[in-house]
Symmetry: C2
Subunit: 356 residues, 2 copies
């Protein structure tokens, strides 16, 4: 007697399921708050407050959020460190005052593991932020912060991205004595995602049809929304084969604006914060160039856009990226399907990237 | 009696002239070595050795070279700091151990000036790297390192980019007691550029015809050649309206490789160094996806590319970017002309960008 063939899910079924699982993943992350408190206390106690973030891909996009979270909460300098400088070129930096946060969903990224081993030997406090605490990365680091997002089966990361962002927010909040406020805020964001998803899922389908033949896009954000712009661009690249390039509103004005025309639309991420004026100016310049603009984020309604996918107001401004990523994730899912691609299995990619 | 109409130069005449002026600009920079020695000594003496680089556009691409120059020579941590974090979001970071290097060709970039004023008040050593020492930026900073590149009339920067890279190399060399070696090396590079340009100028014309209808490209580099990749991509965006996105060889493997096809070529920058294997692997993956590849840099001949534009071996590995940028600058000039665009005056751009 042979077993029945396993049901092959509809293309994109994993991606959509994992986008929807984000609130549950955030709630599971909050169950690990004690570990975040321990790491924050260890960094503060030992004065290792220069935060070096190392990661690739979606984890690196999440890492770029750390620059803002640590800068705005405890006032620590955080940087996305060059992995090649240390691991391949053998630079000898003084790491005694550093806290390394190494982000990897799988915990298997070879040069991130290598970086952590070297940094730990050189006196840094090393912390793995991973969905697999038993991984090589988890074992290499002195401390582990589990993402607890559950298995991610789509090759394009979604819930592990947002849980990585939330993990950095929670750690920075613990480092600055504002843990209660941020834990409550993340819990509230989980509810807001649940409320917002059904309407957004409906909207992205129409938009995807309009964009089915788009070959290139700019994705613009600034400040805490630059990580969102980076992650939206990567989703469009990997699942939809669109040449989507992320940039700040200011970088856009320093050259790329010259490339725009009616076939080169712009995705803008705008929160109601001190960066809104710059993003609005970039959108106005894009429109003047004849480019279509999709405005997303809590301030989407305030932009002169062709299409708007607004997201809920966050309970704390720093948590805005957990909401503003949703339209981009859903749009990538819908556009891939409109193009006849399987967003769960982009060509030439595997879930764990071992390239060095 | 009326004066004759001024002769309007051929489109791209300024850009080509300024590409050719790079050796002369590098020699003029070396005449200011004493100022570089002073700044390096001041940073070392006061222990302000966390290097914060702030800039936009081509100057920001040059700034990214500082990560490698300071990391590999004196072993100092250098980071491209977020301007928005400090200037717009008001983060209060401890800057007492920091040396700020603010790069701006014009010295007028508003938020770079603003950043320097705040950083100086907060106790950082502030240094302007600019082509106009009398500019607002030059006045705001405690010390000025003049680029001495001479007036740059094309909107797309070329000689101020390479002189900014050389300035960072020279400063890092002074900070590490290797000034003689690097000053001699830069002088030798100036000669090598003079020797290499005529043949390269001839080659880019044929290649430009082949690429006249290309709408998107990836530009791949790693380590010290990542700044080169960033700058080549910006030249293609602003002068040729190609959606060119720069990335490391590793980032390429973590997603973007999925987007490639025969209409989506890759520009690779490869030096004969510890990053060559990773760049070669990226090129092989691009070729397997059906993409055409243009290989440039001193190791161009070692890549399995469709086209090769090799550049001379640098006298010191760290100086490689001063040579490997040449094919990209010349190709942008030639491609813009092949497309009927004026590379000296890209649409929607001005020489001095005042966007904040």
């Amino acid at each position: 007697m042979s077993l029945p063939e396993p049901v092959r899910p509809e293309p994109g079924a994993f991606l959509l399921e994992e986008i929807r699982e984000q609130p549950a993943a955030l709630r599971r992350l909050l169950a690990h708050e004690a570990e975040f408190a321990d790491v924050a206390a260890a960094a503060r106690r030992s004065g290792r407050t220069l935060v070096r973030l190392v990661a690739h891909g979606s984890s690196d996009n999440a890492a770029s959020y750390g620059v803002y979270a640590f800068g705005l909460l405890p006032g620590w300098t955080a940087l996305r460190d060059s992995i090649s400088l240390t691991v391949y070129s053998g630079a000898r930096l003084d790491l005694t005052g550093s806290c390394v946060l190494a982000l990897s969903q799988s915990g298997q990224t070879p040069d991130v593991v290598d970086y952590v081993q070297r940094a730990r030997a050189a006196g840094a406090l090393t912390v793995a932020v991973t969905n697999d605490p038993d991984s090589e990365l988890g074992q290499a680091a002195e401390a582990v912060l589990p993402l607890a997002a559950g298995p991610e089966r789509s090759i394009a990361a979604t819930k592990t991205y947002s849980s990585s962002v939330a993990a950095l927010a929670l750690l920075a909040a613990h480092a600055s004595g504002r843990s209660r406020e941020f834990a409550d805020g993340i819990a509230r964001v989980a509810d807001l995602i649940d409320e917002a998803l059904p309407a957004l899922e409906g909207r992205v389908g129409e938009l995807a049809v309009t964009f089915a033949y788009v070959g290139r896009m700019f994705v613009i954000g600034r400040g805490t929304e630059l990580p969102t712009a980076r992650e939206v661009a990567l989703k469009l690249l990997e699942t939809c084969r669109v040449a989507a390039e992320p940039m700040t509103a200011t970088a856009f004005a320093h050259g790329p604006v010259a490339a725009l025309d009616a076939l080169f639309p712009v995705w803008a991420v705008a929160a109601r914060d001190e960066n809104l004026a710059a993003v609005a100016e970039a959108v106005a310049r894009a429109r003047a160039a004849g480019a279509g603009v999709v405005a997303t984020g809590s301030a989407a309604a305030e932009l002169d856009a062709t299409y708007r996918l607004p997201t809920p107001e966050p309970p704390l401004p720093l948590l805005s990226p957990l909401l503003s990523i949703l339209p981009g994730q859903l749009f990538a899912w819908a556009l891939a399907r409109a193009k006849g691609l399987d967003p769960d299995r982009p060509q030439r990619l595997a879930k764990v990237t071992l390239a060095r």
